[in-house]
């Protein structure tokens, strides 16, 4: 029979202490910190008898504090964010229940499991960075997939340059529901919004015959002024990819019927 704290102390080369948070719940004092200097909130939920007998396990848990910390600046409120969250959990063998993250460890695996758990906690607390890096590519990837699979009849063409000597004014997709080019801009951030605005205005200035639509990754992310400028320059907007996927075909059919 082994005391899990003694096991950890030995495995951590003595750089571990504990504090009783509540009866049966020990808070680990280990040199694992968030970037703001707060120590990671990691607890051992002890078996009732206080010791582990191989092959019994002990639960390493955060008692919901990781999700609480994440919520200061980020909410998992879209399917994409939930997908990335679940991926991190799965990759690190961490379970989530009612907002609590935990793993089960045996005496042999306690140290390694604790480190793996702390990595998962760190990744989840930095989920917004994953969002920035992964979701941007996911958004355009999913948009492309949808256009190529579901909008074939509207003859999609990727990366179009309506003004031949202006390779700085690119259109992400051209669709042709009715013979008039429909320029689609994928708006994943403020820079893309500004470029779409400039492009639409320049095409209008050159008296090109076209219509324009903007598909937002997340409309709420755009500063108000940029959104206003885009709204004034662009003919139609879809507030999210999900909305575009739901409404594109009926919209494009109406466009086709106009002629």
């Amino acid at each position: 029979m082994m005391n899990p704290v003694e096991i950890l102390r030995e495995q951590f080369n003595s750089h571990v202490a504990v504090r009783e948070k509540r009866p049966g719940i020990l808070q680990l004092v280990v040199p694992l910190f968030h970037e703001d200097g707060d120590m990671m909130d990691i607890f051992l939920d002890l078996p009732k008898k206080g010791e582990i007998d191989v092959p019994e396990s002990v639960r390493i848990s955060d008692h919901g504090l990781t999700m609480m910390r994440l919520s200061y600046s980020f909410d998992i409120d879209t399917p994409n964010k939930a997908r990335i969250f679940r991926r991190i959990l799965a990759e690190n063998d961490v379970t989530e229940e009612a907002g609590e993250l935990f793993v089960e460890a045996t005496a042999e695996t306690l140290y390694a499991t604790l480190l793996q758990f702390s990595q998962a906690v760190s990744k989840i607390c930095n989920l917004r960075y994953f969002k920035r890096e992964l979701l941007s590519s996911l958004f355009e990837e999913r948009l492309a997939e949808f256009i190529q699979d579901s909008l074939k009849r509207f003859h999609p063409t990727q990366d179009v340059f309506p003004i031949p000597d202006r390779d700085d004014l690119a259109v992400d997709w051209q669709l042709s529901p009715n013979g008039l080019p429909l320029y689609l801009f994928a708006i994943r951030d403020v820079n893309r919004a500004r470029l779409a605005t400039i492009s639409c205005l320049e095409f209008q200035r050159k008296d090109l015959k076209f219509k324009s639509i903007a598909v937002h990754e997340d409309l709420d992310k755009l500063p108000r002024k940029d959104l206003n400028r885009l709204t004034n320059a662009c003919d139609k907007q879809f507030t999210s990819l999900d909305e575009f996927q739901g409404l594109a075909i009926s919209y494009l059919k109406r466009e086709a019927a106009e002629i």
Partner: protein, 140 residues
Amino acid sequence: MRKFTNQEFANLTAIHKRVIEPPRKEMRLIGKMKRNEMKLESVDDGHSFHCFMRQSEEFQENFSIGLVYHPGEEPGSIQLLRFNGQHGGERSHPHHSIFHIHTSTADDINAESWSRDISKRPQRMVRISKRSPIFWTLSS
């Protein structure tokens, strides 16, 4: 990209604000945390802020109250202040559970890439507070 100064942060923290969207009467229980929010703006020149409140349902001493500034001309936000309860150690006091306050410094914020919706959290400047009620005085 815009650079901030510590004086700006101090001014934004201290400036008088009014509540434009009050918090709910009761904290909302989601998972194992209770949460609430409110939106604020500065009285004089319309700077936008929000305040978040969090508390662990299991451990009442684990709470957080933060003041977040929204610059507006760029997407994203900056966490100016965060008051924490006695949740456990932190880097300068690893073995003590104490009330403490996180504040952002201009160097930390300016050092991060300021693109899209990066939300800046208070970084390494932590001072110890014997009690937390001064949050409202500090942030007006």
